[in-house]
């Protein structure tokens, strides 16, 4: 799963700033982890100002996805295995 386009994703926020996306995750989701830029999720290296917050909601993962021309999108993707991997990193 190397390309975002191939995922079944939901866009929670579009064309926002990176800070808005991070604040949204920290306010809306009780469960989140902070990672460094370049952290790999779904074979994507995350772009952003550290720390980058990744939200977890059951099997859903909420993460920022930045494109040079379109700013930062906040995506919500369901993936049981990836959610379990991220939870394991918290411990």
């Amino acid at each position: 799963m190397g390309c975002v386009e191939s995922m079944n994703y939901e866009i929670l926020m579009r064309d926002g700033s990176f800070k808005e996306c991070r604040d949204f995750i920290k306010q809306q989701y009780k469960e989140y982890i902070d990672v460094q830029p370049g952290f790999k999720i779904f074979d994507i290296h995350l772009i952003g100002v550290p720390p980058i917050a990744i939200g977890l909601d059951a099997d859903f993962i909420i993460f920022p996805y930045t494109k040079p021309c379109h700013g930062t999108f906040l995506l919500r993707v369901e993936d049981t295995a990836e959610a379990a991997r991220l939870r394991a990193l918290k411990k």
Binding site: G38, H45, P68
Partner: protein
């Protein structure tokens, strides 16, 4: 590279580069012309030759990554070519990383690669640096929006390179305030005219040792 010549047809022509020969195909009112341009769409991929100011070959003194932003603001392509030239004259090998459009603007403007050397996809560059497969001595990040700040912060976190942020555009001063990571900021209000940003770069001389 084989030269592309427009025939006298007033119809809209789409030129498609192909490696196996020259063909013409008419579909409805649109004519497709397929032209042999050799390998790699006729784009020269000769190795970079560094020369000093007097034109003599020189040994590379370092490497620099130019991280391009969205090419929406015109000064980016011009400043990138200027910076590439100055870096090469100082013996530094420049590598460009951008999205498809930003890279294409440079590659198409410099088909014989007089200025450009290696050009790579931005996501690939981030992946290679993160996975420690490659790194650079200097990294120049072109910034005119929030995404540019994110890319610069990312480069600062994943790379050992000295980071230079080139901040421009209509609202450059607001973007400068968002930079809270170690880097050298080069900023100017430049949108269509690259001269203010060029002057700011010349004052910093980031190609100097």
């Amino acid at each position: 590279m084989q030269q592309v010549l427009l025939s006298g047809s007033p119809r809209v022509l789409f030129y498609h580069l192909h490696s196996r020969g020259t063909h013409r195909r008419r579909i409805g009112r649109v004519m497709h012309k397929i032209i042999a341009c050799g390998r790699n769409n006729g784009i020269s991929t000769k190795p970079q030759e560094l020369v000093n100011l007097s034109g003599e070959p020189t040994t590379p003194l370092g490497s620099a990554l130019l991280v391009l932003g969205c090419p929406q603001v015109p000064v980016q392509t011009s400043i990138a070519l200027y910076l590439i030239n100055r870096l090469k004259k100082s013996g530094i090998v420049p590598v460009v990383a951008g999205n498809k459009s930003a890279n294409a603007l440079l590659v198409i403007a410099d088909p014989d690669r007089h200025y450009l050397g290696e050009v790579m996809d931005l996501d690939r560059a981030v992946a290679m640096i993160t996975e420690k497969k490659r790194d650079f001595d200097r990294c120049f990040v072109f910034i005119h929006n929030d995404a540019g700040i994110s890319y610069a912060a990312t480069m600062g976190a994943i790379s050992k390179a000295k980071i230079f942020t080139l901040i421009y555009g209509e609202h450059f001063d607001e973007l400068v305030k968002q930079v809270d990571f170690p880097c050298t900021i080069i900023a100017a209000k430049a949108v269509h005219n690259p001269m203010p940003l060029k002057k700011a770069i010349d004052e910093v001389t980031p190609w100097a040792a």
